[in-house]
Symmetry: D2
């Protein structure tokens, strides 16, 4: 950690900071510059509070040196993690394609969608049974009935299931039905929930917060991993910016940045990243070209009657076309799907 | 709701949209312009899905006309709500001043702080027993022991208590100790949690999300209110922007905007809104001048040893000085404190 | 334009608005809803001021229906524009690859870079002679001497030149040397400059503002086009967001969005879009996959001695490798390079 | 400057960085940590390029220690600057109140507004003769005719004039008429323009960019000051964020932050900061409470016929009421108006 003192700092204040560092059993190095005095701290800084140092008299500001996450860091593992989901490997050469409706609505649509996305090449089935909706007056999901329909669709197609966990009290229930637990953007810093899924061994699909930083996403992964569950899959799903032409701004940079920082697999969600089904294929291809380990795509047999997210859902036909296009891009970057 | 059709729309597509609106038992009005055809929908639109309309063939985009919240809207109540917290009225002429440490740390500091903030004019005592921290390696709060210390401090001073609820499973526990339940910024869209506190009658202090819109804040209030609890207090605590000079960007506009839109009381949190104790008094005064119904301020007897948020905590002495300054501004805008 | 009246509007106020619309020789349509009265305006709305309507008594808010740009709109041209730059066609099947150093530094580096980027497949040479720098103490560019070196490099390689115009007084000078005039992000709303380049017929490379919206980018293009110059090339170069892991957030969504809205070619600038040479190849490939008509890439023979933007510059060797990778992706999306 | 090396850095790479620092005649200090090696650079770092260091092999990232501005820094002057504008002092105990229409429209409205704002307590008259408009089809200002009307209004009332300079070629013209040159938000990084006004001695009113950082605002002031003109007045006018409830997000934090960082006066512009005349008085009072040295307020005798910014303009009557309210707040924070 680097502590930059104020321009008019007094000798006493510098001594105080050094003394405080030594009390913490760390090694201070004082560097006296022409304009500023700077104190470097040698030692494990992850347990130090930046804010405490900032509150010390004479301190102007403080800069951490180490990344605050450890288990999620690339240097901890050195090679990309591959996560096994009921036989489907996420993180390797083969891309994971998660597709299905935003919400589970009824048996017919669920099975029809499952069969069609499988035919087009999807290897994991998505569907929401508990839905986080901005309005309390909007459809909140089918609950356990929805989970049962997902199970039927799995039996029908063999596709493993991913579904969202919103309420910590539903963990046991959802765990029984799903192959991957999804943590949604609004819960990306719901720490009790993260800890609880960290105590299972079930793969966790962790979405970046609506305006979460890349570092916060890795810290949320760290929450899960530090409880003992190493099976974390990260998801870039667009961030909130001032731009109003799209629902979110898909942060394509996050894909190669995450690949530099972590060994965990990274999935792209162009459906939420754009909010517009016409844009989804372009961003899906872009994500694969940028190095994503897979895609999550909303598909609905009849988007205009979808109970949620109709505007960003592809029809099975459009999904199949998109998959064809994606396959060519995947080959061009030495990936398979 | 206003449905704007694409420039090259076909007559068939317009008919389809009109038919769909009529099926919903609403009244469509077609307006044919030189460049665009527009269809207005007359009727209750809060149950309509914008996204469904956007998915209809030939539709370019859709604009809602009504605000999506109803119980929280000013026009529902016409006059500001006043919320009674164990005798302290929030929302009236007298300002609510909530002060205390970020985290409860031990009995001595808790009682000392409580006495001092009361002397300086605070009328509600804050203190966190369960702390949402970005890092799993940081101090996570004292838990129930912390709640007990808050109770002792209340007994000592008579100040009602506000403390944060993070985990839905702790609701009964926290409800037993606290006078106001705080929902933190990271949980502002934790809908199961909002619904659960909506089923109590305890006043709820609802913080705006880290990058929540004003409308989302009101929708989260609507979640609580639609479950039967009208006692919601809103809190502006700064939003995330590109600016790095401060921890958050305090959205002072939100105060008069909320006053125009809702009857619920609005409290300002300059501690999180700035992240720097040197800036807190300026933003506290500004908030009162802008029409806030009160303040939430972090105060710690010795900020440099605070386990959390030291950099933004005032000493009791600085808090007393700030209160003097605030009192003068309050008088200037016909408020009392 | 749609005018939404306040919930408690008076009959008189509605009459006033209708009268005002009629005075403007436009047709008002009053729609009386249960909660709100809405007045639609039929006719050309681009000359109307939203703000004037918002200032009318009883009006709550106003929503425009038409896009504010016309010449830049896709529906005006129906097919993509192809812009001819000294024989290189921008906007067609073949991708435009603009490469070269951030700043022109000296003859040797300029010619060396030009030869190497041409060998690797670039078809346009970039280089800055006038540099917009955040600090007045930083290198401000070589000025006309730099332009001369660009001319020499062009003679040597045959590559057309693109260089930035910052100062309206340099237009004649720069026009003499360059084949494309670049308008930088900081000048994207410098309207006198836009009008002036609009009065030439020289192709203009218009960068999106540092936090410009897609609509503002198109309005800036409209400024140029409405003066008579149709040769506008748009550039997505990343936007400013809260995310600090990269210099900017590259808005990949902007590429397919612009393709939906405008006939003008769209170039991606992954160098500024990321600020990190290690990320450039991923974002370059992603941009091509998303439908960009070309790339602008900073290349420097020895980035660590570059006078500007060293961190985001590729060496010629890295550029050649990136081009190989990009070529495969281009083929996969039916483009050539 | 602090150079943080990568976790797997080689001895050779460290040596290279140290050698490079020594070649720059600066002093490197190597600090070997458990996880990371860090090299501190002692000496004037303002001329160093962060990006060059980031491009060095083995370097992970670089953190500057010194602020990049010098002339604008508080520590350079130690006391607040007071700028004399034709007898009106900006920056002292007395607040500067700049008021008038967004655009100069005609003689009658200009003189009427000038007389009324003076009566209400304004001491500087604003009015735009050259207008930066997002649309080329919108009113672009009266030009020199507008400047003449400002001059007449000054003669009538004695109020000094502030008006915007957009085009560097108009500097001599505008300089002849105005007492303060305004640089608008869109030109806040138009460096040729900044340098040119830096070569006059006329007070310059510098608006923060639409999404400019506080540091960039100070760097733009540095551009002006480094050319020899110390008379710079800073203006907070709201920044662009994701929030759509207001035109901009007024960054109230910027006021006390600037007071900590610079000796230059700081004026608040609540008209642009909110975009809504109903919110202007609240934000005006808040700005004074937060320590602003004055206000800039748009006032129009009949906002609904204003050619620009009608929605955010106060009538003279509303302005007079706002001034009464502001006066009370000013007194409460020991300022005069």
């Amino acid at each position: 950690m680097i502590v930059v003192m104020k321009p008019d700092v007094k000798r006493e204040q510098i001594k105080e900071v050094i003394k405080y560092i030594e009390e913490l059993k760390l090694r201070p190095i004082l560097m006296e510059g022409v304009e500023r005095n700077v104190i470097a701290i040698i030692g494990e800084e992850r347990n130090l509070s930046i804010q405490t140092f900032q509150a010390l008299s004479g301190v102007d500001y403080v800069m951490p040196v180490l990344k605050p996450y450890k288990l999620a860091a690339l240097e901890t593992s050195h090679k990309p993690s591959i996560i096994n989901v009921d036989g489907v490997k996420i993180g390797g050469k083969h891309l994971a394609i998660m597709a299905g409706p935003c919400s589970v609505e009824n048996e017919r649509m669920m099975i029809e969608t499952a069969i069609k996305v499988k035919e087009a090449g999807a290897n994991i089935l998505r569907g929401g049974a508990f839905k986080p909706r901005t309005s309390p007056y909007a459809f909140q999901g089918m609950g356990e009935d929805g989970l049962k329909l997902l199970k039927i669709a799995k039996k029908e197609t063999g596709l493993p299931i991913i579904t969202e966990l919103m309420d910590i009290r539903d963990l046991i229930l959802i765990n029984k039905y799903t192959d991957i637990i999804q943590i949604g953007a609004r819960n990306s810093q719901n720490y009790p929930l993260l800890k609880e899924v960290g105590r299972t061994q079930k793969p966790v699909f962790l979405k970046r917060g609506i305006s979460g930083t890349i570092e916060e996403l890795l810290m949320s992964a760290e929450y899960i991993m530090s409880e003992g569950n190493p099976n974390v899959i990260l998801c870039e799903r667009g961030i909130r910016t001032y731009e109003r032409a799209t629902r979110n701004t898909f942060d394509i940079n996050a894909i190669p940045v995450l690949k530099k920082l972590t060994h965990l697999p990274v999935i792209a969600d162009p459906s939420h990243g754009t909010g517009d089904y016409l844009l989804v294929p372009s961003i899906a291809k872009a994500s694969i070209a940028a190095g994503a380990d897979g895609l999550m795509i909303e598909v609905h047999p009849d988007p205009k009657v979808a109970v949620s997210d109709g505007a960003q859902s592809l029809t099975p036909e459009n999904f199949a076309m998109m998959m064809e296009e994606c396959r060519r891009v995947a080959t061009a970057v030495d990936r398979e799907m």
